[in-house]
C-alpha cells in the first residue's frame, strides 16, 4: 500500500501511509484509538475507498473497490464485530456468501450440506481446531470458538493475505493462546497476516514486524527484534518526544 490517504470531510484519517507485507510474514499493526488502523485495513479489504494512494500485489497495481474485489485478489478480512451470523450453523458461516448447491433430478437446486460440512471439517482440521459437530449454531459457541470459525471461513477462501481485526478481544487467556497458535501456524503455510490488536503481548508473541500508526500517520515500522515493548508503547502514545522516553524516565525514577 503506497501513500494511502483517507479524508472524512475535513478530518484526515490517514495521512499518506505506506505499508509493505511479505509472503508468510505476520505484521502487527498497532495504535491508539483513532490512529487509522481500521481505516487502513478497510481500504485493503475493499470496505472503504481511499481518497488517494495505490495498492500493489506482487508488483502489480490493483483496484480494490469492494469486498468482492479484495476476495478476487485473495485478501480476506476477519472483522471484530461483523464476523458471524449467530443463528446459522458453523458450516453455513464458513460458507457464507458462496454456499454449495446440488441439483435434485437435475432441476431443483438444493443446498449441498454434506459437502459444506465435509469441507468445513477439513478446514478446521487443517487449523487444528475441533468441534463435536459443525452443525452447531454459532450462538452456542464460546468467544474463542466463534473467532476460530471466523478465521476458518477466511482460510477456506485460500487467501494470500489475511487481515485479523482484534481477534483476541474479549477472550479468556486460554482462548487467546489458541488463537495465537492458529495465527503462528499461518506462517508455515505462506499466508501473510496483518494482525491488529490492543493486546501487545499477542503482537510480540506472533508478529515478525510491528507497524505503529498514530493520528493517521506511520510512526514506526520495525522488525520485532529491533524494538522493545516499551518503545512500541512510546510510539503509540507519542511519549518518545520526551528526552530519553517518558517511560524510561518513569522506570528510572522507580526505587
Amino acid at each position: 500500500m503506497q501513500n494511502i490517504r483517507k479524508n472524512y470531510g475535513h478530518v484526515e484519517a490517514l495521512k499518506g501511509v505506506d505499508l509493505a507485507l511479505h509472503e508468510g510474514e505476520i505484521l502487527g499493526l498497532v495504535g491508539d484509538n483513532a490512529a487509522g488502523k481500521s481505516t487502513l485495513i478497510k481500504i485493503l479489504s475493499g470496505a472503504v475507498s481511499p481518497t488517494s494512494g495505490s495498492i500493489r500485489l506482487a508488483g502489480q497495481k490493483v483496484e480494490i473497490n469492494n469486498p468482492a474485489d479484495a476476495r478476487r485478489h485473495r485478501i480476506e478480512t476477519v472483522y471484530q464485530q461483523f464476523a458471524l451470523v449467530d443463528n446459522l450453523t458453523i458450516y453455513c458461516n464458513v460458507f457464507l456468501g458462496r454456499m454449495a448447491t446440488r441439483r435434485l433430478l437435475g432441476l431443483i437446486p438444493l443446498l449441498d450440506k454434506d459437502r459444506m460440512q465435509r469441507d468445513t471439517r477439513d478446514v478446521l482440521r487443517r487449523m487444528d481446531i475441533r468441534f463435536d459437530s459443525v452443525k452447531r449454531v454459532v450462538s452456542d459457541l464460546s468467544g474463542g470458538q466463534r473467532q476460530a470459525v471466523a478465521i476458518a471461513r477466511a482460510i477456506s477462501f485460500n487467501p494470500r493475505i489475511l487481515v485479523l481485526d482484534e481477534p483476541t478481544s474479549g477472550l479468556a487467556v486460554k482462548e487467546v493462546h489458541k488463537i495465537e497458535d492458529i495465527v503462528l501456524n499461518f506462517k508455515n503455510k505462506g499466508i501473510a497476516v496483518i494482525l491488529i490488536s490492543h493486546r501487545l503481548e499477542s503482537i510480540f508473541k506472533t508478529a515478525d514486524r510491528i507497524v505503529v500508526l498514530r493520528a493517521g500517520g506511520k510512526v514506526l515500522d520495525e522488525r520485532k527484534d529491533q524494538i522493545t515493548f516499551q518503545g512500541v508503547v512510546e510510539k503509540m502514545f507519542g511519549l518518545e518526544s520526551e528526552s530519553g522516553g517518558l517511560l524510561n524516565k518513569i522506570a528510572g525514577e522507580r526505587p
Binding site: A47, P67, A68, R71, T77, Y79, F82, A83, L84, V85, D86, N87, L88, C92, L96, G97, R98, M99, T101, I108, P109, L110, L111, R153
Partner: protein, 334 residues
C-alpha cells in the same frame, strides 16, 4: 417403616433442579403458537360438540387458507427484520383489479396472472424502497397501504365490481379428495416455503439478513436483491390469497382487505417469528394462522358476536407474544 426405608423416602420425592431446568429449557423451545393451537383446539372441542365435526374442520381449512398464505409470506418478510403493513390494502386492490379484468370478459388466466404479477410488483416496490433507500419497512409499507387503498377505490370508482359467473367463482369452494382446493394451494406454497427455508441459499440469506446483515454484506451477499425478492415473494402470496378471497365473495370489493395485515402479523408473531428478524419458522406462523381461524370459528359457534371475536384475536396476540418471551427465558435455564 424401617429406619433405612424412612431415610430413603425423601430422596425418592426430591426433584433434581438441573433436570427441571433442562425440562423447562426443552419446553421453552416450543413456540407459543403450538401451545395456543393445542389450548384452543382442546377448549373448543370440549365446549362445542360440532367443533371437530368433518364439516366444521373443512370450514376451518377453507377459512384459514388466505390467512395461512399471508402468514407464510409475512414470516419470510419478518425474518429479514422487515414487516409489510400493505397486505390488507393490497388484497382490496387485487380483488378490484381481478374483477376489473374479468368484468369485460377477458380470459380468466389473464386475470389470475395480472393479480399475482401486480401484487408481486407492489411487493418488489416495497422491497426496493426498503433495501435501496434504507427507509424502515414500517413506514414504506404504511405508504404503500395508502396507495393500494386509493388504487382499489379508483379502479372500481368506490363500488364493488362483479363479473359474469364463470369457473373462477367456484375455485375457492372446490374440493379435492374432500379437502378444499384452497387448502391444497396452501400446502403447495408451504412446501415451497419449506424448500426455501431448509434447502436454498436464499433461505439461509433470509435468516442471515435478519441476524447480522453486515456480516453477509462483507461476505459478498447481495442484500438488496435478497430483500427485494422476499418482499416480491410476499407480494405474490398476497396476490394468491386475494384471488381466493375474491373467488369466494365472487366480486371485487375495495374494502375486503381491511384488517388482514393485522391477522397476518399476529400469526407470524404468535408463531415465534421475532420482530427483530432472524428467528422463527414459517411453519409455526402457519399453525398460528390456523389457531386464529379456529378461535374465530369456535367463538362464532358459541354465538359470540364479531366485535368480541376481534377482541379475542388481539388478546391472543398479546398472550402469544408474552408466552414467547416466557418460553425464551425458560430456554436460558439449562
Amino acid at each position: 417403616m424401617s429406619g433405612s426405608a424412612a431415610a430413603r423416602a425423601p430422596n425418592r420425592l426430591r426433584i433434581n433442579p438441573r433436570t427441571l431446568a433442562a425440562a423447562a429449557a426443552h419446553i421453552g423451545r416450543v413456540p407459543s403458537g403450538v401451545i395456543l393451537f393445542v389450548v384452543v383446539l382442546v377448549l373448543f372441542s370440549a365446549a362445542v360438540p360440532e367443533f371437530l365435526s368433518a364439516r366444521n374442520v373443512t370450514n376451518i381449512l377453507l377459512a384459514t387458507s388466505p390467512l395461512a398464505i399471508l402468514a407464510l409470506g409475512m414470516a419470510l418478510v419478518m425474518l429479514t427484520n422487515g414487516i409489510d403493513l400493505s397486505v390488507g390494502a393490497c388484497i382490496s386492490f387485487i380483488s378490484v383489479l381481478t374483477a376489473a379484468v374479468l368484468g369485460p370478459g377477458h380470459p380468466i388466466w389473464l386475470s389470475i396472472l395480472a393479480a399475482i404479477l401486480a401484487s408481486a410488483l407492489v411487493g418488489a416496490l416495497n422491497g426496493m424502497i426498503v433495501a435501496l433507500m434504507g427507509i424502515p419497512a414500517f413506514i414504506v409499507t404504511l405508504g404503500t397501504m395508502g396507495i393500494a387503498t386509493g388504487l382499489a377505490l379508483i379502479i372500481g370508482n368506490g363500488q364493488t365490481l362483479y363479473w359474469e359467473k364463470n369457473w373462477f367463482n367456484g375455485v375457492a369452494l372446490s374440493y379435492l379428495l374432500g379437502v378444499p382446493l384452497a387448502f391444497w394451494i396452501v400446502l403447495v406454497l408451504f412446501a415451497a416455503v419449506l424448500w426455501i427455508v431448509h434447502q436454498s441459499v436464499f433461505g439461509r440469506h433470509i435468516y442471515g439478513i435478519g441476524c447480522n446483515e453486515e456480516a453477509l454484506r462483507l461476505c459478498g451477499v447481495r442484500i438488496a436483491r435478497t430483500k427485494i425478492a422476499v418482499y416480491a415473494l410476499n407480494g405474490g402470496f398476497v396476490g394468491i390469497a386475494s384471488l381466493l378471497i375474491t373467488s369466494r365473495i365472487a366480486s371485487g370489493n375495495p374494502n375486503i382487505g381491511v384488517g388482514w395485515e393485522f391477522e397476518a402479523v399476529a400469526a407470524a408473531a404468535i408463531g415465534g417469528v421475532t420482530f427483530m428478524g432472524g428467528r422463527g419458522h414459517p411453519a409455526f406462523a402457519m399453525i398460528s394462522a390456523v389457531t386464529i381461524t379456529m378461535l374465530l370459528n369456535g367463538l362464532g359457534l358459541l354465538g359470540i358476536n364479531t366485535s368480541i371475536q376481534y377482541v379475542s384475536v388481539g388478546a391472543v396476540l398479546i398472550v402469544g407474544m408474552s408466552l414467547n418471551i416466557l418460553l425464551e427465558r425458560m430456554t436460558l435455564l439449562k
